[in-house]
Amino acid sequence: MPDARSALDGASEAGFVKVEEMGLQGMITLRGDLAAEELQAAATAATGVDMPDRTGIRTARDGGNALAWMAPDELLVMVPYAEAEERLAQIQAALEGRHVLAVNVSDARALFRLSGGPQVREVVAKLCPVDMAPAAFGPGMFRRTRLAQVPAAFHMPDADSMVIVCFRSVAHYVYKLLCDAAATDSEVRYHV
């Protein structure tokens, strides 16, 4: 089997912030009762991070592992791409017999990173109907929303960068949108 490739093979473009496609990321959708101790333990065991709060994300120090709150009954488990199947089996074994659903969705998604300063907020604010003021959105929060015409989610690993998750099928559209919104000299300077 040929090697797995990410949607845009790491394409990048520099505007007033840098837009880059992040490459392969292992992702497991875990659905079930998020309040159940077994489910929390399984998610924590697979990633090494604690359960996030509602609409939050917890990221491991090295950045490869994370747990993101997607919905009242849905968790996004982020793991290194090469380990996704192994971690999935681990979760499924831990929750056998429980009313849960765990699926490897790594190849169904695309990730983008915006970096280069607090202006990354401006790029997202141009595309999403979300209050991007520093007081309203910051690191540790995970927001699912609409990015122009497609569903997407984003979070800030730190105050100067942004990670955007979308479906792989719309990766090229999202990349073009982000590049356009980040075009040189197009800062709005509303939030920053």
């Binding site: 509602r54 609409t55 997607m70 919905a71 009242p72 849905e74 109907p129 979300v130 927001r143 699912r144 929303t145 609409r146 569903p151």
Partner: protein, 109 residues
């Protein structure tokens, strides 16, 4: 602009993040009901100028359904509440009464 707060995830978003689901608290008339009841269930919808109850789905967010009480004339949202209810809860009705004294909607008041 219509701003809704999803009671399932707590996110306050703009209308385009949500999908409208029509009138709330409809009683389904299916097999065994009269033609009049079935016709009313399908077609006789409220279209008020003022207080209205609707179903919404957080389509581009957590994906869950919920109910919203709002004013169709001003887009003021009186409150949002769980989809798992058959009538508006008392606290929502009290909020509406405080702002729109004498309001009524179908048999709710």
């Amino acid at each position: 602009m219509l701003m809704l707060t999803c009671p399932n995830c707590g996110v306050t978003g703009e209308e385009s993040e949500f999908a409208p689901g029509g009138e709330a608290h409809l009683k389904r008339h299916g097999p065994g009901s009269s033609d009049e009841e079935f016709h009313a269930y399908l077609f006789a919808k409220e279209n008020p100028r003022g207080v209205h109850f609707e179903r919404w789905r957080h389509a581009n967010g957590c994906g869950k359904w919920f109910h919203a009480a709002r004013c169709t004339a001003t887009l003021e949202v009186f409150g949002t509440y769980s989809a798992q209810t058959t009538e508006p809860p008392k606290d929502i009705k009290d909020k509406i009464s405080a702002k729109r004294p004498g309001w009524s909607w179908r048999e709710v008041e």
